[in-house]
């Protein structure tokens, strides 16, 4: 092989390796779901309304059998498959959480308490057996169908156990984002954002189907059951 041919071969091989590495870095390692912006047009001092849902399935990713959160875009009103939410600092966030998944016990029942919300309570309506009512501060996930997932921001002390949907086999959500007409519970709560920063949030139900004691897959993937609050001034 001539020197020129060897040089060309070597260059092509080098570029191929570099290209592959860049592809892995950009499309896999640095891949993140889109940031849903709740700050655009926000007037200082006014509360922000945020609507989220926790679905047993999703039809918008490569993992349709993974449980997943969705968030309603304040701009379009469409459900977005993202767990990165940009929020204004020092602002009251009024959250409505639709929950379409059935219940399961918490790995640590300590996470059955409601903390970090305004008044350290949440309100639940829908089909949550045993937890209907208002101003709930503790849910016992071992004795009632009280919890399906949690919305927890450990750094901010926020923990909200979202009520589970009592399985009847009828009108169950089978396609995500779930239609509001399918069986679900509705949990509402409010919290005050702190100063600017990124605050990770997660679910404390090990709901990553059959992986590492339920803590892999959806539990460990941003965009499904964990993400972060991007709080900006």
């Amino acid at each position: 092989m001539s020197v020129l041919a060897r040089a060309v071969t070597l260059t092509v091989a080098f570029l191929a390796v570099v290209g592959l590495a860049l592809f892995v870095v950009i499309h896999i390692l640095l891949a993140e779901p889109p940031t849903v912006d709740f700050t655009a047009g926000h007037a200082a001092g006014r509360p922000v309304s945020m609507t989220i849902m926790a679905d047993p399935v999703n039809d918008v990713s490569d993992h349709p059998d993974w449980v997943s959160y969705f968030v309603e875009s304040p701009q379009t009103g469409m459900w977005v498959h993202s767990t990165i939410w940009q929020l204004p600092a020092h602002t009251r966030i009024n959250v409505t959480a639709y929950q379409f998944d059935t219940c399961d016990p918490l790995r640590n029942q300590f996470n059955g308490r409601v903390t970090g919300t305004v008044g350290n309570v949440m309100s639940v309506s829908g089909e949550a057996a045993g937890v209907n009512g208002k101003g709930i501060s503790v849910v016992n996930s071992d004795t009632t169908c009280g919890v399906a997932h949690t919305f927890s921001v450990p750094e901010l002390g926020i923990n909200v156990p979202l009520a589970g949907e009592t399985y009847t086999g009828k009108n169950e959500c089978t396609q995500g984002p779930c239609a509001i007409s399918t069986a679900h519970t509705t949990t509402t709560f409010s919290f005050i954002t702190p100063g600017p920063g990124d605050y990770r949030w997660q679910c404390f139900i090990p709901c990553g189907l059959a992986s590492v004691d339920g803590n892999g897959h959806a539990m460990s993937t941003i965009g499904f059951m964990t993400g972060y609050l991007d709080v900006v001034s």
Binding site: D101, P206, A210, G216
Partner: protein, 315 residues
């Protein structure tokens, strides 16, 4: 030391100086000064500080190790520096090696004696420090070799992806995310996990113990000063391992008791729903709802994975 031997061949008509003595006279004051600086100036600032007896003990160990290591390091550096200056090639000089040191029993005996004393000394020192009060601050498993006197405050550390929580069995078994300890009182950490392996590392307290599921790993310490300390997970445990940290506080005994009583009352509602205090937990087994759901043929959250006992099949 080998310093006295590899000298260049004596120049005609000129006596070869005693290189070993020269090196010794350079090295000795440097080593003495370095040790004094390490012990008295740097030593009090070495990690992990002196917030607890275990931390102070670790700091003492590091000071001793540093004081022993500094002369050795300096001996190497001084010898190298001396050799480069004294035996450097000179213009017009002969470019050849000095006499070999092979067979020099004095050098060999010195080398073997010094290194043996150092290694055996560290061996004995390490064992004594591990086994004698106040201990090493590390997890000693369920049957500790060393225990403090008196009745230690029991604090259970529970690791979970990705959060540490703490239970106080002597105060009704309440659980909290706040780690608060009294100054001057021995503390027994009972460290366990509910899922994967974590590691409870209370840095300024000099305590580090693995948190293994279904295992109780005991570590002791006695906080000696009030203040704040950092708790980190020191075992790579998943996506948010880097965010698995919090801060603990050491209060006066009176302030601690006040905090404990207040927290016990504040947590009473959630405490009633917790499983009874135990040294280890089996969340997959205590989750009676998983059994109920499985036997009823119903799915749970996330496809009803909870509890390998009832959902043994991989999908």
């Amino acid at each position: 030391m080998a310093a006295a031997q590899p000298a260049a061949a004596p120049a005609a008509g000129r006596a070869e100086p005693n290189h070993g003595l020269r090196i010794l006279l350079i090295w000795l004051p440097l080593a003495l000064a370095a040790d004094l600086v390490i012990w008295f100036v740097w030593g009090p600032h070495l990690p992990p500080g002196d917030m607890s007896d275990t931390a102070a003990s670790q700091q003492f160990d590091i000071r001793v190790m540093s004081v022993m290591a500094a002369p050795v390091v300096l001996a190497v550096l001084v010898y190298c520096g001396y050799a480069m200056i004294t035996w450097r090639p000179r213009a017009g000089g002969e470019d050849e090696d000095g006499p070999p040191i092979e067979g020099n029993s004095k050098v060999q005996a010195s080398w073997i004696t010094v290194t043996t004393v150092l290694v055996l000394g560290l061996f004995v020192f390490g064992f004594v420090e591990l086994a004698s009060p106040p201990g090493a601050g590390s997890g000693q498993g369920i049957s500790p070799l060393w225990k403090p006197g008196g009745t230690p405050l029991q604090v259970q550390v529970i690791g979970q992806q990705w959060l540490f929580t703490y239970r106080y069995p002597q105060y009704g078994g309440f659980e909290t995310t706040d780690l608060v300890l009294p100054a001057g009182q021995p503390v027994q950490f009972n460290v366990t996990s509910l899922d994967v392996i974590h590691s409870f590392w209370a840095y300024q307290l000099g305590v580090k113990a693995d948190a293994n599921p279904q295992v109780n790993n005991i570590a002791y310490t006695t906080p000696e000063h009030t203040g704040q300390f950092t708790v980190r997970c020191a075992e790579l445990c998943g996506l948010w391992h880097g965010a698995m940290y919090d801060y603990g506080r050491v209060l006066s005994v009176a302030a601690f008791r006040s905090w404990a009583r207040t927290t016990e009352t504040r947590m009473a509602k959630i405490t009633r729903t917790l499983p009874s205090y135990a040294l280890v937990y089996y969340p997959n087994e205590i989750a009676g709802l998983a059994k109920f759901y499985y036997e009823a043929g119903l799915p749970g959250a996330g496809g009803g994975f909870y509890g390998n006992q009832y959902y043994p099949d991989e999908p």
